[in-house]
Symmetry: C2
Subunit: 115 residues, 2 copies
């Protein structure tokens, strides 16, 4: 199950590097939860062919991650964002100045929307 989730996340990051056909088949299996049988029927091909495509694409996605680390970097950014938001809450509690409180709120919004 965990591997399925990981592959699904990697598909978000690197799906564009696959061919349209590869991406469709990976989406059917990892995001829409279709079975090998259902996917082979839709694509008018054998279960073995679908199995081989899934296996090859998983290998490709893991290779991309080992080279570019987009998932890893994104996780770090999300941790940074969380940590900053906690600190802003502390800061809000320390400040008794309307102007500063307003600016802290603006910064928080900007961070939530853009990071």
């Amino acid at each position: 199950m965990e591997e399925r989730i990981e592959i699904s996340i990697l598909l978000d990051f690197y799906g564009e590097l696959l061919t349209d056909k590869q991406k469709d088949i990976m989406n059917m299996y990892y995001n829409e939860d279709l079975s090998l049988g259902e996917i082979s029927e839709i694509n008018n091909t054998s279960r073995q062919a679908i199995h081989d495509i899934l296996k090859r694409c998983c290998k490709l996605l893991l290779e991309y991650e080992s080279k570019l680390e987009l998932k890893n970097k994104n996780e770090k950014l999300l941790l940074l964002k969380e940590s900053l938001l906690v600190k802003f809450d502390c800061l809000s509690d320390m400040v008794n100045n309307d102007e500063a409180a307003f600016l802290i709120n603006e910064i928080k919004k900007q961070l939530i929307e853009n990071l």
Copy 2:
């Protein structure tokens, strides 16, 4: 000149997706400023072969950017960082509370080091 700089930046983001040989040749031309003649001599091959590799790799790098937009996203992150740092400076000026000033400084450091 601008195209050279752009390719050099794309090489930072996507160089790992090239083969070692492609990466070496791209680095020689775009980062170390070697000529086609010098690179072909080092690689014991023709100027035409080097020219073809450079052309093919530039195309690949531009395709990767059109698909993943890492350079574009990184530029947006840097703008966000700059904008946040300016706001932190404003915030520092508004606050006359040592504890809050210390925390603002901590947040700035964390942002500079991690974004």
